[in-house]
């Protein structure tokens, strides 16, 4: 068990080096002068271009450059983001909590709906509920996130006017920028409660409903599919038949014997869900004009803000590597058979 986790942990830096090398190789498509200009955030610095090239070793062999770049990244110096008008590391710190808030709220619903619907669908195979959930999952997989998001916006913002895009209303935003507000966590709903401002809490919550619904629908579709097929497989096993034969109630069989085992592959595929969440966040934030890391990354890509794009890629790749590790470790904890290998 410990060896397994240790071995996975040892793989982590290897993948991190590979990922950073890939990003670095992509940057090689740019000329040294262009790459030097990535560190410029003031016209006055233009005269110092040769110095910058020397400072960041941009005229040196590739491996020297890569090493120098890695050291920069390790020190948190990712360059200057023109779109955020601040250093990349600071921008990531600023945008990340918004995205995290979106992800946390979505993930809860996805797990609840996905596992419940997937289980019910398998237990009542080919019945009405199963047909509904299968239709939901196949249409969820076919409807692009941005079409679904815009549709929700058209109905619930355009028609009803309930849930506006953005993260806060104008007055809420002014209040947050004023001196009275103290950002404890960066998660707006939590901070509003910690500041004892219920109005701000409702404001933030109202802006979260549609983006969360968008992310939830798409990813629930994925999870229902996985849970359903895994559950169907488990319900056919001998130990489930044994459990039924010894007279256990149906819901004990389903909840205790079948579902617990059926969830094992779901955990490994949990990292797949996480990938979906990360990609979904990029589109959802753009659709709803939600100021998170995804929207910033897209803006940066449109405006060729390469340092921002690099930071954006590094942070998302890092998150994915960690989530893969987490899934592997969970897998080993949940399924004792893994330890034998």
């Amino acid at each position: 068990m410990t060896t397994f986790i240790l071995r996975r942990l040892l793989l982590l830096p290897l993948v991190a080096v590979g990922v950073s090398a890939l990003i670095f190789l992509l940057l090689q498509f740019l000329t040294p002068a262009m790459r030097a200009s990535l560190y410029i955030h003031d016209p006055k610095q233009l005269n110092a271009l040769p110095d910058l090239i020397r400072k960041y070793h941009l005229d040196q062999p590739v491996y020297v450059q890569y090493w120098a770049w890695l050291i920069q990244v390790a020190h948190g110096d990712l360059g200057w983001s023109e779109t955020a008008r601040e250093p990349v590391a600071a921008a990531i710190r600023g945008y990340f909590p918004a995205t995290l808030e979106l992800a946390i709220y979505s993930f809860g619903w996805i797990l609840v709906f996905g596992i419940w619907l997937g289980t019910q669908s398998a237990v009542h195979k080919d019945r009405f509920l199963d047909q509904v959930s299968r239709f939901t999952s196949i249409s969820g997989a076919s409807l692009p996130t941005f079409v679904w998001g815009l549709l929700l916006l058209m109905i619930f913002y355009g028609h009803f006017g309930w849930f506006p895009p953005g993260r806060l209303s104008l007055s809420g935003d002014l209040y947050v920028r004023g001196g009275a507000f103290h950002p404890y966590t960066g998660l707006m709903t939590i901070d509003a409660l910690l500041n004892g401002n219920l109005g701000l809490f409702w404001d933030a919550a109202k802006h979260l409903v549609l983006p969360v619904a968008t992310l939830t629908y798409y990813l629930t579709a994925v999870l229902v599919r996985i849970t359903r097929s895994s559950m169907l497989e488990t319900l056919r096993t001998d130990y489930v038949r044994t459990a039924r034969a010894k007279g256990l109630g149906e819901h004990v069989v389903v909840d205790k014997h079948a579902r617990r085992n059926a969830l094992i592959p779901v955990i490994t595929l949990g990292s797949l869900l996480f990938v979906g969440l990360l990609s979904g966040v990029v589109i959802t934030e753009t659709v709803f004009n939600y100021p998170g890391i995804g929207q910033w990354g897209v803006n940066a890509s449109q405006q060729l803000d390469i340092p921002a794009v690099t930071g954006f890629a590094l942070i998302f790749a890092g998150l994915l590597v960690i989530s893969n590790l987490f899934a592997d470790v969970m897998y080993a904890i949940v399924d004792p058979r893994i330890r034998l290998q």
Binding site: L22, M154, G158, V282, A300, V309, V321
Partner: protein, 315 residues
């Protein structure tokens, strides 16, 4: 369903009970027809194929580059469907009908180019990796690991950001995300096939590696590739549309569904008193992409169930 079960229940070697004179092709067709959803998927895909093929007849191109949507005037407000513009127009008066029809062509071209690129890379790397094994295998697998360590859309966005916005670069970026899956699948198939008796027989007859790979191994690994490709078509089109929607794929005015949807972004709120004034700017291209992807997803599922029962429900 019953056909599949009785087939699975029969021992592999024994003579299967089947309708007299039924060939493999007939069996495939029978299983295919037994699932209504697969037929729906096939009908949708064939419909889009016809639209894509007949695009010049359905929507006559007026510009030198037929993929650029003609627009009458530059008025910023979208216009509702009319005899002149059956599906209405987007902002800046791009004709939605023209865009949807030629967008079908774009969707097929993009998806097929991505699949072709990914399969070519997979054939080169996967064959070296799976057939020879050893350090080459290790190297290729670690490289795929690194590519798979990225969330797909993020990597495409980053690649397009570095290469610049164009349809070609978007195809390159999506292929860069897709090839590891194909390579891993092909490598697995090569590993399975390379020690089969018929490959040993070919070697005993004096065939060289290239001949063995091309004549004996690849033809036996092609079905899983086709299944993967058909399951993948919808996803590729969604990714491309997402890139266009984010302003990183097709340029403005290009006949592409994602690009048309991005033109509707400013018009979802409608006017005071009538919130759904501009419904067509979102619903028309949105429906086109939904149906296209749905068709491929249904068809891909059907192919998977028919050709490879092992993969059933594994996605």
């Amino acid at each position: 369903m019953s056909a599949v079960q009785s087939h699975a229940a029969a021992p592999a070697v024994a003579v299967r009970r089947k309708p007299v004179g039924e060939t493999g092709w007939h069996r495939t067709l029978r299983r295919f027809r037994s699932s209504p959803l697969s037929v729906v998927g096939a009908v949708i895909v064939v419909f889009f194929m016809i639209v894509a093929l007949l695009a010049p007849l359905l929507a006559h191109p007026t510009q030198r580059n037929p993929y650029m949507i003609p627009h009458s005037g530059y008025s910023s407000d979208p216009r509702p469907p009319s005899p002149e513009h059956p599906f209405g127009t987007t902002e800046e008066q791009f004709d939605l009908f023209y865009g949807v029809v030629w967008g079908a062509r774009t969707a097929f071209l993009v998806a097929l180019s991505v699949v072709a690129t990914a399969v070519t890379v997979a054939l080169l790397l996967g064959s070296v990796s799976g057939f020879y094994g050893g350090p080459a295998d290790e190297a290729v697998m670690r490289i795929t690991d690194i590519f798979l360590a990225f969330p797909g859309l993020i990597l495409t966005v980053v690649i397009v950001a570095v290469l610049g916005q164009s349809v070609r670069n978007a195809v390159i970026a999506i292929a860069a995300v897709e090839w590891p899956t194909y390579t891993r699948l092909l490598r697995g198939e090569f590993l399975r096939v390379r020690d089969m008796e018929y490959v040993q027989a070919a070697r005993a007859l004096g065939s060289g590696d290239v001949r063995i790979i091309a004549r004996h191994v690849i033809p036996n690994t092609i079905y899983p590739m086709l299944i993967l490709a058909s399951l993948n078509m919808g996803g590729i089109v969604i990714t491309f549309a997402a890139l266009s929607f984010l302003g990183l794929g097709a340029p403005p005015g290009y006949a592409d569904w994602g690009q048309l949807i991005s033109l509707s972004h400013n018009w979802i709120a409608g006017t005071a008193g009538d919130p759904f004034t501009y419904w067509y700017t979102l619903i028309v291209p949105g429906l086109a992409i939904f149906l296209f992807v749905l068709g491929w997803n249904l068809l891909g599922d059907a192919f998977r169930d028919i050709f490879d029962p092992r993969l059933q429900g594994s996605r």
